[in-house]
Subunit: 367 residues, 4 copies
């Protein structure tokens, strides 16, 4: 994710000239001196550190961007907040709800600007969905569904833990697909469709043991390989969520759909420039799902890029969030999702995991 964030910072000057502030890449930090030095040179960071505490202590640093595995988010964020730094944190906010609460408390006490990189909110097609929903076109909502399907951990020979594989190690990640993938789906859902009341989940670990890359030992796998849950939203609609890394044929299939009384919307990360829209008020004989190629200048963020019909990619969502973060500072407004916003996602994740374990409905109010 370091590459994605660095790219975002470097591009906002070029594509968002209305911003009054310029991002300066003062320093990058990673435990491996060799690697971090090479990264700093490649990406044009002025300096590098191998101890994040040193970085946080530096006076020339205004903002800290946390791209580490989940198990260090809380510690770094709390320290950075204490040092008065603005904080941008990779998702999920934390491994557990409790960690998340401590982070929110720290950051709000410090009063520093903050955001969490739930980048999919700023895919133009998703932002457009938000506009359409907020405009009231859908009417009463009946259904929300989302899934995030991958297939990269099917092989039982894949190790867990360590470089590139910490997402499979429950100690580093906190959970499996719930925190990694469903957290994205939940964040978007809360944004588009409001709060969740209760959840009923099923989790599964298909491969029970894997070699741990750091210890070389075969160890029990602690993460959820798959997680499915249904829920009630506060607005009365039903939610359905699924995530897995065992859906052969899907690389990163994040899809969402929302069905309202008057209209419906669908989106799919694999074709991220398209939004599908069904409007029941269209004349009946020519009614159908519209495939909207969200690349026109009057659609969200697209005045910054190319002419109609020309696609943008995944990383642009980070560029948009970085630009919005700078804008939010200039405007004195929060940049959503804030740590507090993301705590709600964490709350749902915690209830989902608990529901999977206890095989029972969980009220969100209990979290």
């Amino acid at each position: 994710m370091g590459r994605t964030h660095s790219n975002a910072y470097k591009r906002i000057g070029d594509f968002f000239p209305e911003l009054n502030h310029k991002i300066v890449l003062k320093a990058v930090c990673s435990r491996s001196a060799n690697k971090v030095q090479a990264f700093a040179e490649q990406w044009g960071y002025e300096s590098f550190e191998t101890d994040w505490k040193a970085l946080v202590a530096r006076e020339d640093i205004d903002a800290v961007d946390i791209c580490t595995p989940n198990d260090s988010h809380a510690e770094i964020a709390i320290a950075a907040a204490a040092a008065g730094k603005m904080i941008l944190c990779e998702k999920p906010l934390s491994r557990t709800l409790e960690e998340g609460k401590q982070m929110v408390e720290a950051i709000e006490k410090a009063g520093v600007a903050n955001t969490v990189w739930y980048n999919y909110r700023r895919i133009p097609a998703v932002t457009l969905a938000k506009q359409i929903i907020d405009g009231g076109k859908l009417g009463k909502i009946f259904h929300y569904r989302a899934n995030f399907l991958q297939d990269w951990t099917i092989s039982a020979d894949l190790p867990q833990g360590g470089e590139g594989l910490w997402r499979l190690d429950v100690d580093a990640a906190g959970s499996g697909v719930t925190g990694d993938l469903l957290a994205h789906c939940i964040d978007t859902a809360l944004w588009l469709n409001g709060s969740i009341k209760d959840v009923s989940a099923m989790t599964e670990t298909f491969v029970k043991e894997r070699v741990h890359q750091l210890t070389g030992q075969v160890q029990k796998v602690g993460i959820d390989d798959a997680c499915i849950f249904h829920c009630h939203f506060e607005n009365g609609s039903l939610g359905l969520f699924e995530s897995t890394r065992y859906a052969r044929g899907h690389k990163a299939l994040y899809t969402l759909e929302i069905n309202g009384e008057h209209a419906s919307l669908r989106w799919d990360l694999h074709d991220l420039n398209r939004l599908e829209f069904f409007d029941h008020s269209d004349e009946s004989i020519v009614r159908g799902w519209r495939s909207i190629h969200v690349t026109d200048g009057d659609q969200p963020y697209m005045d910054k890029w190319w002419v109609p019909g020309l696609s943008i990619g995944y990383e642009h969502s980070f560029v948009h969030q970085a630009a919005d973060f700078v804008k939010s500072i200039e405007n004195g407004q929060p940049c959503s999702p804030t740590f507090r916003d993301s705590l709600e996602t964490q709350r749902v994740c915690e209830a989902v995991i608990a529901s999977g374990k206890t095989r029972s409905w969980q009220q969100l109010s209990a979290y």
Copy 2:
């Protein structure tokens, strides 16, 4: 459904010349004399009845096809079995598991040929999916998901009960989308992926009261408008099912997908001639979901129809089942799904409804 079945019987002579038996449309039965006479004339039935008991008592009738609302399936089937008739019954088999058990007992005691019209098994693309799965191409199965989404009952002004609307009346239908739509999804799932162990469901009735068409009174709605459940299959895979009549934009979107270790399959009723297939053993740089237009002579049932590329429709699945039923009689083999096969679908439906009501997991072994 009377039209669909009648059409099936009339076409098998033309398209399945290898059959040694010819269907004769001896009589059609319905309570309204006017309507049934007109229907008999239009479709070429030799005679008609207005009392099903009279029909069942006739000696010139070999087989009885039950297309009535669900609340009379059991009574008719049991009487027809007692009279030694072969029986073809519309789905769902029954309103309740208990009714279904009585029907199976009656039919097996009588030893008569029987089948239930879960017609989607015989859409060529679905039959091909079965062949591919049985051929072992998918390997260990991880996920099965299906949904059946409609949008025709969103208006609160729609009455319940009576002509054309008995599906909204719990007394006639037994349940809402569970018996009407999910039953299809469950039947196919059991056929393609084996038995289900346990289920956890959520049901919802969005419109709480509707005018009853027969009484003219506003009455409580007793059916489930939407039903979502997840489950474990005996083979270790996870199942996810959803059905609703409140998904704006979907007319009859029955989709299914199955993800295995080596390959995956997807199908969609709206484009019923296509099967999507992902084969991980394809060379990696040219690997992708294949869109198979199932219209070639070497694909199931398609030697009976047109040249490659030319589609068939919904009603052909009934023609196939009617032909298979005749074939099964000639071969002395059961015609799946039999009443007993369909009792399993009923068992799952019963557990799903119970789970929705009790908000708890239900073991299938308890049903």
Copy 3:
């Protein structure tokens, strides 16, 4: 095609009860006594003939349906007209424009009801396209394009001529893809977009010699394997047409698209129940191609079939034309396309073939 037509006649009684006339299958004719007898029995024809002249001479025959190879269309049609029979003729009308002119003259002189089986006009999605265009929604037309791509003659080992392969024999067929496939595209185009002024074509025969199935000799192939042409329509729009039997991967890909000032339409035979529609008057941020699943009761012909979302197939277009033919007789109106209508298609085909041969533009007025 005999099966397709027979099926059409047998189904209109069931599905078009408003018709006052009933089709009686009096006799079927084919040169092989064995085959035709079996066909008559299978399909329920009352009798059969092996000499078409005997059939045409029969007094109990009101209408003659010509499903023979193209080289006998003219002779049979002219004789049937002389005998006062109504005539339904498979497309293309004739091998040459000259033959077609003689047929039209004969039929108009006899004053008999007539139609040519350009069945694709009566796919509901195509009929809906016609309604939308006639309603003026597209405005001034700029472009019309269509193709019909197949891949079944790529193998040089495929023989030409005789049973099942007469389409590859120029003497029997008149031309290759031009008369067989482009004729469909041209018929629809003339119907939807009006007359053509001039054409410029390219034709190709990829496999120069094939064994003739009847003679056993390797003979020169006389048909066009592929044909591409562009043209001007009278309304000022540009036309682009392509057909081939060498497009690997396409079984019967007939697609058409029409672009107007205000709106556009697209259709594809492989997914024949869908019509795509783009309406520029939609609000700009939610504008996109609509995928219309043409299966609702208010869409052409669909009140005859199933509930919304349930597809029909290829052969239904023949059922619709058979029903419309009967209706046209009852109304005393012509059933389009008539022989005269189809002569225009023949005129375009003749100009296209001539253009391919001479490598020059051809004015339609010269034909």
Copy 4:
């Protein structure tokens, strides 16, 4: 295009660390001092010029990138070559074949590195198509077709000429859609399918007069609004090309398809990360077009970007070409398409325009 190119130069350092050279943005040039200064500041150019001759004369400039309207390509390129600069030129190479010949002569005499920005060759899906074709998977080629459809000039109120609209002014552009859009299709076609032998074209100008933005006068429109041509390739296959700015509903629909004896390929700019592939050697019952999401590390260029399933956009094709240009200098190899390669595209364009005017086939050997 200045933004697209500038972005490309700035990103190759980050994403192509294996390059030994770093691009330095020494100067940007444009006639308007205000605009060019702002652009220089926004994009980080060290300096700016308002006279391209001054830029070309500067000793600190190693390479000149020409992004001007077509009418100055030749003059600048010839001067830059004389000054010994490397040259990157926007497409089309020139307004006319004659201009192009002079440019090639100048550049080859000077012996400077050169390339033309036919960027679509370096969309990963298109590059993958080239790999598949070169690997022989398609066998003998029968058909190549491409189109580039837009709809932005339908309004007759749109002026021609000047800022943002020079593409509508024949003096500045040389031609309309032929040089602007078809040139892309031709470049890719020559690359994927080899040389073209002869062409037969139709061109049209739908809107005959427009206000000229610079003169304020209503003037005759000299460009082609639409152009269609068919052709023979040297390898015996047939080509079909179409371009227009009057296809309502299409923003930038560049699609290409190639049909071979054994396999076929399709691509569409609107969903640029996908390549469709049909392989006839697949087992017949599971044969179908594969939708390949070209986002894996073993697919062209994709090791530089994100994890599988995550899309890239339009501008990445420029980044790839910029990186390849630097690489080509380091390797001492030409960077395709060179000026000479692009002269072939120019030759086809010239023949196409001539064919449209003369309504006759044109042999490429005559150009």
